[in-house]
Symmetry: C2
Subunit: 206 residues, 2 copies
DNA sequence: CGTCGGGTTGAAGATTGTCAATCGTAGTGG
DNA sequence: CCACTACGATTGACAATCTTCAACCCGACG
């Protein structure tokens, strides 16, 4: 990416990641920390659409289209790198591989949102939560070598609930079940998986 | 599109629309009839991801990516036009506008799947069904002039259920409610909207 | 020491699913 | 023309799932 205009900035945990007026077309990449895309509904509830991990493009589905139809919020403190939208678009046309990589990311994002819809529509609470964790630990494992099935997971139960369409109290009950059955524990920002096979059985769609 | 390799074929109502071996990269466009994209789950249930109307690209999210992660099935008898994948890709690079149009379609598809996730995760049955119909009548109205708020809607209640994550029985109850409250009726493949304002109030996310 | 956010738990209620019976309509074969 | 069947829609009774409301605990932090 050398030669491209690029800057960094930081957003504190819990704050929205704005896409300021003139820079709608810019591309933001998450460098450290966690964030999430979500849709805010009129009745006050929100649907978390995807958790963003370091390396993810924050507004992946919108690199070419103009209007952003979702919001993004920092889950932990995050560091973000901004690339000029025009630079990126020029690079795409110049370098085949940049374009391919962007499209791959776009396709992955599309697949994920379809899986999410299927999970929300068809699975009961337990399996929805298993599906969420399964997707997350796979993405985490793809980024760093894991030890003892312990994964960083800086989510409150409210975030889990907003992601799978359940109330925090019910999330608490399901997590208690998982604990009792020795499937996993989520404590203090760390997810420990004790029965991966069971988690996969619950969380897999096919 | 003149000069591109192109063929037509037909699929009967209820049959799957296959993407045969060698032509995974081809682009299929729906010319007449209705179809739907869906994900088949291991337990036998399925989530309908999007209904396809004439003019829609059948595998829109997958023009560039190789593996198709969803299935497509004909809802009515459909006519389909096939374009060679290589031809399309060449056109994209040659003609800026073709690329733009494809990306617009892709972005629209992404927005729709996010809205679907939000509806499935956050809305109760009544509002989920309202949301489905609202999205459909807007797309139908954009394609042809409508009279008296009557829209062709060749869905069985089972399709509605698979699209919004409810059992056909409960869909029947909700539709009965809508009938009683004079909001809409769905009879014999025709949706008649009698209280559009109410439908919008129920089915809008924001 | 008080407060506050997050998690846990119980009890009650709302929503949605399951099971089963019924009805109408269209098709099918005698 | 008449069973016979198959499918979709409807309805009732009941059960399972999930939400709501409330109380309580606990650690962090002023």
């Amino acid at each position: 990416m050398k030669g491209a205009r690029q800057e960094f900035f930081t957003v504190k945990a819990g704050y929205q990641i704005e896409c300021p007026p003139q820079s709608d077309q810019d591309v933001l990449v998450l460098c450290s920390g966690w964030a999430f895309r979500y849709l805010q509904l009129a009745d006050g509830s929100r649907q978390i659409l995807r958790f963003l991990l370091p390396g993810d493009i924050i507004s992946a589905p919108m690199i070419f289209s103009e209007d952003l139809n979702f919001s993004v919020r920092a889950l932990t403190e995050v560091q973000i790198s901004r690339f000029g939208g025009d630079d990126i678009r020029k690079k795409c046309l110049a370098d085949e591989r940049v374009m391919i990589e962007l499209l791959r990311s776009l396709a992955e994002s599309g697949r994920a949102s379809y899986e999410l819809a299927a999970a929300l529509g068809q699975l009961p609470a337990e399996r929805r939560i298993a599906h969420l964790f399964l997707g997350l630990i796979r993405r985490i494992a793809a980024r760093s070598i894991m030890l003892h099935q312990r994964y960083p997971m800086p989510l409150r139960q409210r975030h889990v609930g907003d992601a799978v369409g359940l109330t925090p109290v019910h999330v608490s009950r399901v997590l208690a079940l998982f604990r009792d059955r020795q499937v996993l524990t989520l404590v203090d920002g760390v997810l420990e998986v004790t029965a991966l096979a069971e988690l996969e059985r619950l969380g897999s769609l096919r």
